[in-house]
Structures are given as C-alpha cells and as structure tokens.
C-alpha cells in the first residue's frame, strides 16, 4: 500500500499539475494500492512550518518507509517511479 501526502498551495498552476500527475501515475502504476491525502497550505498555513514543507507542491511518501519528499510538479514520471522503488516497472 502506498500512502502519499501532497502539499499544495491552493489552485496554483504548479500544485494543480502535481495533483494531476500524481493521480495519473497512481492510476497507471498503483491501481487500488494507493492513498492520496491533499494538504492545502493556503488553508492550513501553519502546517508549512510545522511539517517543514516550504516549497509547493511537495509530495511526501509516507509509506512504504523511509519517508521521502519530492518537490515539483512531478512531471518526470521516471524520477517519481524510481523514488518509489518502482523503476523496473518502466519499460
């Protein structure tokens, strides 16, 4: 099971792209074994400093451990997959 938390800043372009990229990636490579939590820092600004997330969008991979962070729109699918340890799936 993959647990993701995506920090976004409202509906800014980068944030929206990241969310779209993440859902697409999950649908393709991790069907039915993922969970995405979206945190909007504009609504919960205190979490930025509390969680140490300063750049948006930031994807935090909560499970499987160890926790990792990916910053950006996630437009490079390969980088994301490699970070997830799914590099071999890519043909």
């Amino acid at each position: 099971m993959f647990k993701f938390r995506l920090y976004v800043a409202g509906d800014t372009l980068n944030s929206m792209q990241a969310l779209a990229n993440l859902t697409a990636l999950c649908r393709e490579y991790l069907p039915n074994r993922h969970h995405i939590e979206v945190v909007d820092l504009l609504r919960e600004p205190k979490r930025a400093l509390a969680d140490g997330v300063l750049m948006t969008p930031t994807l935090v991979i909560l499970a499987p451990s160890p926790a990792r962070k990916i910053v950006g729109t996630l437009n490079q699918t390969q980088t994301v997959l490699r970070t997830l340890g799914l590099g071999t799936l890519v043909v």
């Binding site: 820092l41 930025a48 140490g52 300063l54 750049m55 996630l74």
Partner: protein
C-alpha cells in the same frame, strides 16, 4: 550588542538597523514596510548584517522578526552569532524566529515548484508573533533549484508582492561573486535591484594583503543617502560602518580649558598648554623624542587624575615605561593604579579601519580622556595608503566629538628632507597643534630641536628651542643664533659658559672701579676738610688783622691829639700822654 541609538535618526518611514554608521548613511535605516536587497561576495558579512537588523529590531524597536535561513541551519546560526554577544537564544522565544529553510541534500525534485507554501506558512507565523521585520538569507540557494529564468523571476515577484502586502520590512540577501561591478549585472536575479526599494552592496577586497571591507548604498527610493563606499569592520559587536561626519550633526563641544603638555616650557610656548579635546601632532624623525614628549603628556594627565590610554605601535608598553623612566617620566605607578592603560599594538595587522575600531573600543572601555597614539603613521602601513587618510580624519573627528585630548606622533621618512614637513597621512592639516622635532647635526653632535609649526587658537612662540632630555626630565632651552648660525648642544654650552666668564670679568672690573672711585672720593673729602680748616684760620687771621689795624688807627689819632695838646696850640692842652 553594540548599537548606537540615535534618537534623532528615528523616523516613521525607516526601520533602524542599529548598525553603527549605517543608520547615519541612510538617514535612519532601511525603508520601513519595503524590501531591501543586500548583495555581496562570500564572507562579505551579509548574514551578520541581516541578523543584526533583526536583533536590533527585536531588542530595541519592539519589532519582532523572522529569519529565513536558506543556507545554514538555525542551530549553526545561533552558535555562530553567540560570539557577538547577541542573546539569540533568549530572543528566539518571542521576538525572533529562525526558519530552517535550507534544502536537504536528499531533496528530490521533479518539475517546477514555487514558494507559495512557505510564504503561506510565514504569513501565519508573522501574524502569530506580530513580526515587523523579515530576512530571507541567501535566497539564491533556493532560486537555483528552479529550472528556468522565468520561474525564478516569478518567485521573486511573488516574494516581493507578499512582502508588500504584509507591509513587512524585508531584507533579502543574495550572493555576488567577487567584484560586484561585473557580477551583479550578469547574474540571473540582477533585475531584483530594480524591483526593490533599497539596494546595499557589501564588498570585500584584499589590497596588498590587507583585507578591506566596504559598504555602499546603491539605491534608496524616496530618500537621500550617502552614495560613497564606506569602509566597515565586523567587530565584536557586529557591524561597524565608518562614516565621516554628516552635515547637520551637532558640533563637538568646544572648551577653552587648557591641559598641560607635561613640559613646562612647552606650555609657555603654547601660551598655556594644549586645549582640552584638541588633537596634537608631534612629528619628527626616528629618535627625536616623540615618544618622550607624548609620555610627558600622559604622565601629566595621570597626575591630574585623568584616565589615559597610551597606544604604542613601536614597542611594548613595559618597554616604553622603562625607557621613559630614564628621562624622569614615571608611568609605572599609574599603570598600577589603573589610570593609565598601555596598549602594545606592534603586532596587530589589519586595515586602518580595523585599527580605528579597536582604538575606539579600547578607549571607550577605559573611559579615556587623554589618548596617545605612537605613532599614528602606522595607520598608513602597506595596503592602507588609500584608506589611512580617511581613517585619520575620523580618528580626529571621533576624539573631538568625545572630548578626548589626542596626542599622536607621526614618523617622518628619513628620506624626505627636513623642509618637507608634511606627513604621509596629511593629518597635519587636521591637527590643531603641530609640534615638529628635528635634528641639528653640528660640530660632531646631534641635537634635538623643537618648534611649533601651528597651534590653532593659541598665541604660540615662533622660536626653535632645544629639547634636552636628562634623567630629571624634559626641558627646553633657548638656542643661540650667532652670525646666522644656530647653536645647540655643546656649542650652545660653550657659548653660554663663555658668556658667563665674560660677565664675571665685567662684574669684577666694575667692582674695582668702584673701589678706586671710593678711594678718590675719600682723598677729596680729606682735602676738602683741611681746606675748610685753613679757611677758618684765614678768617680768624683776617679778623685779627682788621682789629689790629683799627686799634692802631685809634692810637694814632689819639697820638695826634696829644701832640697838638703838647704843642699847646689849643686852649685845652693837658699833660702829655703816650699811646699805649
């Protein structure tokens, strides 16, 4: 923290930085509620400047601040800045927040990102703690992660807008490599300078092996400012920017009080001594007793009970004391009772600016009222030629403003002739009193001559005096000018003793003459007396003579009568009687 608080610089539109000198240059500090860009090369002091701005705000201006650290972790910043005596730990609880924003090395990046999250978080934090100041330290680090120019620009604008919207006084620091002139225009965020309201450039150069730091305000919208490069040093208390006296600053208090130079005759020559708070320059070649004269001044000051500081660049304090003891100047006891502080700065290297800052700090610490710098020409050591003049100016300006009587000695180059009286520092034009010492080589000996070249506001002697050092002290003697030639030393002594002999001879001759006159007088008196006696005798004789004549005449006439009687010519012809 060392901060000068200038109430007259307080302004509603400016946020004081508390940085000595900077608030004066900018007329009050950074633009309040606006953004300032601070650029500088590595090690130019950007972080210190920024942090000092926050610490001052938190401590003195009731303006809490946020420090966003892109480069270092908060722990390291706090540790690094403990040395300045800023109580960051204490401030951190309430008035200062340091945000750890440095990108971790294992950060994985995929695609573009922005700083909205951070700004949202900071916005909440700022509101929570009521922050009025914010620093983004080394923003270039995070910008470097952005893929293209356009997104970098976008983020900078985002930041700018955010700052403006919250009316925070913002300070953004950015690296510039080496020479600002070349790099600033080229680096990718050069346009920031156009965007911000104030831009400050820090510069760190090495000239002939000596480090020189400069600060320059490049622009300041809506305010006048000092456009020149101002040297600064990073001292114990943080930044110290050297500023020349600004117009409109209150003039130093002027007093008519005189202080003795330590040499009685010199005081007479100066019409009563130096003015209190004056700056005195004593120039001369090596060995002309410059140190001795300044030592005499120091001793006299200590005797009056004034706190005095003696900074020697040539020899150790103990050496100076020993050497001065040989001419009857005893400073030892004053060092012991704490009135006098001897500073040996022989080995201190560094820019003239650094020296000045240290001198100021030491003098402040000692609460010195009299200060001796021996020799001040050290300021213009290699690598400092360009700045030394300005430093000397500020030295004098500072000592005047603080009412410190300053005596500095100036070493003259042996090569420059004795007629060329100027000093390399051109301090001579600034000094109030200029005493020049030189040698006169004559008849196989070297003697010291002292003259006052100028002394503002005091009547002073135009005579050259010979300076004599003996174990009983320093004295000045008249020199002899004979036939257009100046006599000093042995020649003067010869002349003096010759004159003594001559006057003795004259004295004796006079006495002799008096004796002989006395004798003559006595003789004459005796003669006069005998003549007087003779005169009396003569008078007696004369009286006798008169009387004798009279009686004979009477006798004669009686005889005649008798004869007529005897001849019986007349009726009554009595008996004959002879005249007796």
């Amino acid at each position: 923290m060392k901060s000068a608080h200038f109430p007259f610089l307080e302004s509603r539109t400016k946020a004081q930085t508390g940085i000595v000198g900077f608030d004066e240059i900018t007329g009050g500090g950074l633009p309040r509620g606006r953004t300032t860009l601070l650029t500088g090369g590595p090690g130019s002091g950007k972080t210190i400047f920024a942090l000092q701005f926050l610490v001052y705000g938190a401590q003195y201006s009731k303006e809490p601040g946020i420090f966003v650290a892109f480069e270092e972790t908060p722990q390291r910043i706090v540790a690094n800045f403990e040395t300045f005596g800023w109580k960051l730990g204490k401030l951190q609880k309430k008035a200062l927040f340091i945000l750890d924003a440095h990108p971790t090395p294992d950060l994985i990046q995929s695609g573009a990102f922005d700083l909205s999250g951070m700004l949202a978080g900071l916005g909440a934090k700022a509101q929570e703690m009521g922050a009025r100041r914010i620093v983004f330290d080394a923003i270039d680090i995070v910008l470097a992660l952005l893929p293209d120019q356009a997104s970098k620009r976008r983020e900078i604008y985002r930041l700018h807008e955010w700052l403006l919207a919250r009316e925070l006084t913002g300070l953004i620091t950015v690296k510039a490599d080496g020479d600002e002139e070349i790099s600033l225009g080229r680096h990718s965020f050069g346009f920031m300078e156009f965007m911000v309201d104030c831009a400050v450039v820090l510069n760190h150069r090495v000239e002939l092996g000596v480090s020189q730091r400069n600060l320059r305000v490049q622009k300041y919208r809506g305010s006048n400012f000092d456009e020149n490069e101002s040297p600064f040093v990073i001292g114990k208390g943080g930044f110290d920017v050297a500023v020349s006296r600004m117009l409109g600053r209150v003039d130093a208090k002027v007093t008519k009080e005189r202080v003795t130079s330590g040499v009685k005759r010199l005081d007479t020559m100066l019409g009563g001594g130096y003015y209190r708070g004056a700056s005195v320059l004593i120039t001369g070649f090596p060995g002309t007793a410059k140190t001795t004269l300044s030592g005499a001044f120091a001793e006299a000051a200590c005797r009056r009970g004034e706190r005095t500081m003696f900074i020697g660049f040539d020899s150790d304090g103990t050496e100076v004391i020993r050497n001065l003891t040989s001419v009857g100047i005893r400073l030892h006891r004053y060092v012991k009772n704490g009135l006098l502080r001897m500073i040996s700065a022989r080995t201190i290297t560094g820019s003239a600016e650094t020296l000045l800052v240290r001198i100021k700090a030491l003098a402040k610490e000692h609460k010195a009222r009299c200060l001796v710098i021996d020799p001040v020409s050290t300021l213009s050591k290699a690598g400092n030629e360009l700045t030394a003049h300005g430093v000397a100016e500020r030295l004098i300006d500072w000592s005047k403003a603080d009412g410190i009587t300053l005596v500095c000695t100036g070493l003259l180059d042996e090569k420059s002739g004795p007629t060329d009286g100027g000093t390399p520092l051109q301090i001579s034009t600034l000094a109030d009193t200029w005493i020049h010492l030189n040698y006169l080589v004559q008849a196989g000996e070297r003697n010291r001559g002292l003259s006052i070249i100028k002394s503002r506001g005091t009547a002073h002697s135009n005579q050259v005096r010979e300076l004599i050092l003996s174990d009983s002290g320093v004295t000045l003697a008249d020199i002899y000018t004979a036939g257009g030639e100046v006599l000093m030393g042995t020649l003067r002594w010869e002349r003096e003793s010759a004159e003594r002999v001559a006057s003795e001879v004259a004295d004796v001759a006079g006495k002799l003459r008096r004796v002989s006159l006395d004798a003559e007088e006595a003789v004459l008196e005796v003669r006069a007396k005998s003549l007087q006696t003779e005169l009396v005798a003569k008078k007696v004789e004369k009286t006798l003579l008169t009387r004798t004549t009279e009686s004979r005449e009477q006798e004669l006439s009686r005889g005649h009568t008798r004869m007529r009687e005897l001849r019986g010519g007349d009726a009554a012809a009595p008996r004959r009687k002879k005249a007796s």
